[in-house]
Amino acid sequence: MSVSPPPGAPSVTSGVRSVALRSGVYADSVKLMQVSRDVAATDGVTAVLVAMATPLNLELAANMGLAPEEPTSPEQLLIAVHAEDDDALAGALAAVDAALAARERSSGSAQAIPQRTIGAGLAELDGDGPALAIVSVPGQYAVAEAADAIAAGRSVLVFSDGVPVEHEVALKRAAHEAGVLVMGPDCGTAIVSGVALGFANVVRPGPVGLVAASGTGAQQISCLLDMAGVGVSHVLGVGGRDLSEAVGGLATLDALAALDADEATERVLVVSKPPAPPVARAVEEFGAGLSVPVRSAVLSPETPDLTAAVEGLLTDMGRDVPAWPSRPGPAESAAPGAVLKGLYSGGTLADETMLLAAPVLGDIRSNTPLEPELDLGTDLSASGHVVIDFGDDALTVGRAHPMIDPTLRLEALAALAASGEPAVLLMDVVLGHGADPDPAGALVPALTTARSQASLPVVIALIGTEGDPQGWSRQADALAAAGAAVFASNAAATRYALDLLGASA
């Protein structure tokens, strides 16, 4: 139906218009507003109103100069179009029919809305089995994610570093209240019911539970236990600061209580870098009050090394202490006046080495020194006895941990060989989940080059198990073939290096 504009129509002065009413058609107002909008966008169309003929819509039509002339009822559908010419009008009316007939473009299910937070992720879990949150977001944002887990009654492992110590304390207090555990922050190693988190080795299941404020310390101990045929129940990392004065062992105490209540755990070992003495005492007293026997592998000048702690535990358990695997190096001796150069990826292993060597060598300078006055700062090429922890946060900013990325350590090795300073080189190589899939592959050429330049005896503490993806023996054989003396025990490696230097511990 195409008609000329009626006299006096307010806003339509040229072109053609069509005003039609249809009965027996209903569409809701949203649908009709969409139809109107779509048709209005067609070429040559100047005004469109497709709407039910309610009083309000009739008023709108009148304002547009598109009022119907015949009587209407609200159940009728009003289709009013003004176009530039008959062709445009015909096209518009066809478009109205097409739009009215069109189906929704989709009627599928909800698009997947990802969970953005640990809280939302935990809320989506069904079932009431054990669940654990892992947080490795930038440190300044880790707190909120960890707090989500605690609020949901779940334990959380915080890989992130850079979390202020007061936030760590607040999180651990909240976790204690909620009866859950905060592992970390800056916790790189844990094994929960056989699930290895972060840097951890493939070790057999068994009766020993570890509470570890030290990642590589926990790896050393769990690997030696595995080599002695003894498995672990769980390794609960608590973060390197947990036994500091500020944190006061909050997570260590809760982890001890949890292992005490765990059926699979028959013995517990607490491993840490040198702790704050009052905190160490508090942990010892707490451990003494538990039903499960707790032994300390906490490093200090007065306590045994990690290997000795493992040996003590094996004796407690009535097990034989095995000969720890090693690959003797070539018979060589250090040059006169040689010094100890320790290039470590594991902070606890570096500490252990310094604790063993300092009484016989004297001052050892380090970026993580035993005494503040021995601090090397950023001068890693200092002369004399030096032990460097390449895993220290200051050296991992903006790059991967040396257990994954060997670049910095290899540069230091090359610089050492070029320096001409007579030395014995001591290194750790850590295997397991998360570590370099073939550390010997990168190290062997570097060692070969270095040894061709200078007389440089090399001693390696190879931390791992046969079950690790890299395989202890395969790596040991490759390193030994490059002229290194290889030991499964860092304490044994250190003692061997000291022997080469003509000192003995």
Binding site: D28, V30, K31, M33, Q34, R37, E59, L60, A61, N63, E104, S106, A110, Q111, I113, Q115, R116, T117, G119, A120, G121, E124, L125, G127, G129, P130, A131, L132, A133, I134, V135, S136, V137, P138, Y141, V143, A144, A147, D148, A151, R154, S155, A170, R173, A174, G179, V180, L181, V192, S193, V195, A196, G198, S233, H234, A257, A258, D262, A264, G434
Partner: protein
């Protein structure tokens, strides 16, 4: 201590952050769920941490949410604003945070002009503009008087108000009567047609509704349970903000017998009242809003809570309040809704966001229950999956699911309820609001309807204030 059973079996792991750790776990055959973590949408990291670590927060938010969920809503009376909230002469309530005549938008000015004419304080439009500009009329937000008003929300002393009561906490809330669609005062229209309708509402509709509501209660019937009507609407394709069809019809069904039973008025007036209600699809909105207001007011003043108690706009600014910061407003410039337009109106005709009706979203219906009314998402060209996705997103910015407000298509999951400022910041997802659109120019009326979000600025300010409060607590 058993760490919630953590050591009893290999755990299911939920991970946020770098995926190398998740990959290593997957390689071991562990059950790992990665969340799609992003840096927070806004907020000083130190503020976010302070709030995340506030030991009061979880318990305070639980208290706030429990009060919302427990609140009820009964229609107990209909009375003029002058009587019920003591609104004095020459005072007008308006929607949103505080504003002045100078800062008022077109539709707000139109409604204020219309109310001055309606109350007889001005002889014509110019006169009304003069007394408003001279500050002779006091302006105050509805929210400062336990009242909510849709769109401009302008409420004058002789307008009739729905009077609702929360039988659980004893709170009261009020809202004016809905005028219908098109050229109406709340959309900023003020012409003779608007004035005539308001006069009829004052002299016929209000008194009849009062007699009907009182008569029913006096006859021993329970007051109308408005919360229950709202709950039923969600089962019938309404979301309670932009779509109130089922709710309006149910309300008509509930009120009709007592309206018809009103004595001493001409039967033509009874018929006119029933016709008016039956012809107004948004009639229920003015009952839904005070129902939400009752619940949100019950959650006011919970120290340590990061929950939003008010979302509201005055056509110029958007304002929010939180349970943990008392009656402070946190404001930012209102956005303009996006949607579909009536007749030949277009985007240029639309005013920025206006009205107290976003109290529905604060309560967890409206845009938050978009999945219950997929028709609404089509305002912005969306589809049914988009409607479901909107509600899914809102679950992640809220503290609870309201079991009374079940959404059928979500498997009768409760509506996402109680907006958490901290979650909004962490996800970067702003609340979704469904709304009408008023014409930008005073006197125009409604030009369309659509979807809008609050400006982020409101939440930034609220987050900073909550963090400051936390540090001084």
């Amino acid at each position: 201590m058993t760490l919630g059973g953590l050591l009893s079996a290999p755990p299911t792991i939920v991970a946020a952050g770098v995926d190398v750790f998740s990959d290593a776990l997957r390689a071991q055959g562990a059950d790992v769920h990665d969340v799609d973590w992003r840096p927070p949408g806004f907020g000083d990291p130190a503020d976010l941490a302070a709030l995340a670590l506030d030991p009061r927060r979880n318990a305070a938010n639980r208290v706030a949410v429990e009060r919302i969920l427990a609140a009820g809503s009964q229609l107990v009376d209909v009375r003029p604003a002058r009587e019920v909230i003591g609104l004095p002469d020459r005072t007008l309530l308006h929607s949103g945070p505080p504003l002045t005549w100078e800062t008022a938008s077109g539709p707000m000015r139109g409604a204020l002009i219309g109310a001055c004419l309606f109350e007889g304080w001005a002889t014509d439009v110019e006169d009304a503009e003069r007394i408003l500009a001279a500050g002779e009329i006091a302006l105050d937000p509805c929210h400062h008087h336990r009242t909510v008003g849709p769109m401009a929300g302008v409420t004058s002393p002789s307008m009739w108000l729905w009077c609702l009561k929360d039988p659980v906490h004893g709170g009261q809330a009020f809202c004016n009567l809905n005028e219908g669609l098109g050229k109406v005062l709340r959309m900023g229209a003020f012409n003779e047609e608007v004035q005539a309708r308001l006069a009829w509402m004052r002299s016929v509709l209000g008194p009849i509704l009062q007699k009907a509501v009182r008569g029913s209660i006096d006859a021993g019937n329970d007051p109308l349970d408005v919360k229950s009507v709202l709950a039923q609407m969600l089962q019938m394709g309404d979301e309670g903000h932009n779509r109130n069809r089922a709710g309006s019809l149910m309300t008509l069904r509930e009120l009709s017998p007592s309206i018809v039973a009103v004595e001493g008025v001409p039967s033509a007036d009874i018929a006119a009242v029933l016709t008016f209600i039956g012809g107004n699809e948004h009639f229920f909105l003015n009952l839904g809003m005070p129902t939400a207001k009752l619940a949100m007011d019950a959650a006011r003043d919970v120290p340590g809570s990061t929950m939003v108690t008010v979302l509201s706009r005055n056509g110029t600014e958007f304002g929010i309040r939180t349970a943990g910061t008392g009656d402070r407003w946190f404001t930012g410039p209102a956005n303009t809704p996006v949607g579909l337009f009536l007749g030949d109106y277009g985007p240029d005709d639309a005013n920025p966001d206006i009205g107290d009706s976003a109290i529905m979203e604060a309560y967890g219906v409206g845009g938050f229950s978009m999945a219950a009314a997929p028709a609404i998402v089509r305002f912005v060209g969306g589809s049914v999956p988009d409607a479901l996705a909107t509600t899914e997103r809102m679950y992640q910015v809220t503290l609870a699911e309201n079991p009374a407000m079940a959404i059928p298509i979500m498997g009768f999951r409760g509506s996402p309820t109680g907006i958490d400022v901290l979650k909004v910041a962490r996800t970067g997802w702003l609340p979704q609001i469904n709304t009408g659109m008023a014409g930008r120019i005073a006197g125009t009326g409604q030009v369309g309807a659509g979807l809008v979000q609050p400006p982020q600025e409101c939440f930034e300010k609220a987050l900073a204030a909550l963090a400051e409060e936390t540090r001084s607590a």
